[in-house]
């Protein structure tokens, strides 16, 4: 069982149909019907991922780097199962937990405690499972004295701490992190990094998307460099980051 990869991309292609007609709203569609229909017929899909094959082993932590629009978030969306591939198959094994953006899945008028339950259930736990972990989550967040106040009284740092605390207590098999590592103060960041290390020893598979090369180098076993919807290079962190820098910086200097 454990020899099976946690995540497997088999010749995955993902295309997006950019529909200007739709983006302009109903009014626009009706008022300019002939032009819009012609535009829809002539549309060319945008290819976000092209024939990508990739295996991520159980317990491996992989970072995905690349320029904006390289297909990094599409990759995460396909793993999470919120996007469907246009061709190919993505196979995942185990419970997947995405780390949400700041404040997502929370409600400002509910207390911290109520929000933990809401967020935990939204992320895939049953009520019983969340309640069993409630004390541990509150303890980890370090917000015990604020937890019965409404969330709107929290600072953004505190909100982020609460969200992160819920996410790391979901006992995921696969953790998906999209640019969200630097949350809270230094002390909390240390706590998070320690938790990440524990995840690694617990054989939790992690996929990071990040532009922060320093943390990429620190948390990952392998780094994948994406460019234009293709995998440009995959390998040990130092090597790939070096090549990526060498690729990016001349263009920065030229601009």
């Amino acid at each position: 069982m454990s020899s099976d990869p946690a995540i497997q991309f088999r010749h995955v292609t993902k295309e997006y149909h950019v529909e200007n007609a739709v983006l302009g709203g109903l009014k626009n569609l009706v008022l300019h019907l002939p032009t819009q229909i012609r535009a829809m017929r002539a549309r060319k899909p945008f290819c976000a991922l092209q024939d990508l094959s990739l295996e991520i082993a159980q317990g491996e932590s992989l970072s995905v780097i690349g320029r904006n629009g390289a297909g990094k978030s599409t990759l995460l969306g396909l793993i999470a199962g919120v996007l469907r591939p246009s061709a190919g198959t993505v196979v995942t094994r185990g419970r997947i937990c995405p780390l949400l953006e700041l404040g997502a899945g929370f409600h400002a008028d509910l207390t911290g405690r109520e929000n933990i339950v809401l967020n935990g259930i939204l992320l895939g736990l049953t009520r019983r499972e969340v309640l069993a972990r409630l004390d541990e989550i509150i303890d980890f967040s370090g917000l015990a004295q604020f937890v019965d106040r409404p969330l709107r009284t929290y600072s953004s740092g505190m909100t982020a701490r609460l969200g992160f605390s819920v996410a790391v207590h979901l006992s995921p098999n696969i953790l998906l992190v999209d640019e969200a590592l630097a949350v809270g103060d230094l002390e909390f960041q240390q706590k998070c990094l320690a938790r990440m290390q524990q995840f690694r020893s617990d054989a939790v598979t992690m996929v990071f998307v990040s532009h922060d090369m320093e943390s990429v180098a620190r948390v990952s076993d392998r780094v994948a460099w994406m460019d234009g919807g293709r995998l440009r290079e995959i390998g040990p962190p130092q090597q790939v980051i070096e090549h990526y820098h060498a690729f990016v910086h001349p263009t920065v200097a030229a601009a």
Binding site: V82, L83, D109, L110, L123
Partner: protein, 279 residues
């Protein structure tokens, strides 16, 4: 639970998975029960931050409407209908259930974009929760209607035992289908929200909520067939005001509920896999 055995194959839409259709497991059923409960509870807590005032607020809107129409038609226009205030609230409370559902449906998916983009779950749960929430609001307003009935010396009959649940189920099915349709289409055409507000406003006057349907000139009676909400509102008025539910309108309402449910679900089903792309 052995989560490691949870194998998911993400394939292109249209491709049938090898496993085929499967009944939801017991864990899944418990999970979706919890998800629904927490979503409905969230709306409820937010709306009723302090319970007594919150309850009064939720009744205030339809009651204020009833007052306006009462003054306008009974006092100013001298409309001659016995127990007109009972007639008004008997139609206005169900109408508010419909119109609140349509309004909140616009944002059922749009307002949860960050979840839809990242978390995999049945998206229809979000709509179901908001419709259930409006159902609860309607249910707690029924005592007010009964209070008005008693004031006018009318009492619930034995037929309430079957008509009340039947009408609630019909209206629930209809609003759920509509909400699913609107929530889905509003993701793709963001200006549907404005359009649906206008349409609901027009339909409010087209539907015989504030006037009895007999007042409609005969050459306008077809409106009662064409307006999906008219038969249902007539049934509610039958229950609360006239004392008996008109069978032919109940049948028509059931038909409309079925149509709304089917259309809403089909549209949702056809487009749900694109939600995360477009939201």
């Amino acid at each position: 639970m052995d989560a490691c055995s949870q194998l998911i194959e993400n394939t292109p839409p249209g491709a049938r998975s090898a496993a085929g259709w499967q009944w939801p497991s017991r864990e899944q059923l418990i999970y979706y029960r919890d998800l629904l409960a927490v979503l409905v509870a969230k709306e409820f807590k937010v709306r009723y931050k302090s319970t007594v005032i919150g309850y009064a607020w939720s009744l205030m809107h339809p009651l204020a409407f009833a007052l306006v129409f009462f003054v306008l038609f009974k006092i100013v226009m001298r409309f001659d209908l016995p127990a007109y205030s009972l007639f008004l609230i008997g139609g206005l409370f169900p109408w508010h259930w419909i119109s609140n559902t349509v309004t909140s449906a616009n944002f059922a998916f749009l307002g949860n974009s960050s979840l839809i983009k990242k978390v995999r779950f049945h998206r229809a749960t979000l709509v179901l929760a908001s419709v259930l929430n409006e159902l609860v609001h309607f249910a707690i307003s029924i005592p007010i209607v009964v209070g008005f009935m008693i004031y006018y010396g009318r009492y619930p009959t034995v037929s309430w035992f079957w008509w009340l649940p039947a009408l609630v189920v019909m209206q629930f099915a209809m609003t759920f289908g509509l909400a699913l349709l609107i929530a889905t289409v509003n993701l793709f055409f963001r200006d549907l929200e404005r359009l649906s507000t206008i349409i609901m406003h027009l339909l409010f006057y087209v539907t015989p909520v504030i006037y009895p349907y007999e007042k409609l000139p005969p050459n306008f009676r077809w409106v009662l067939m064409a307006d999906p909400f008219a038969p249902l509102v007539l049934c509610w008025q039958g229950l609360f005001y006239r004392g008996s539910v008109p069978g032919e309108f109940a049948a028509l309402a059931a038909l409309w509920a079925l149509v709304c449910c089917l259309v809403g679900y089909r549209v949702y089903q056809a487009l749900v896999w694109r939600f995360a792309e477009i939201v």
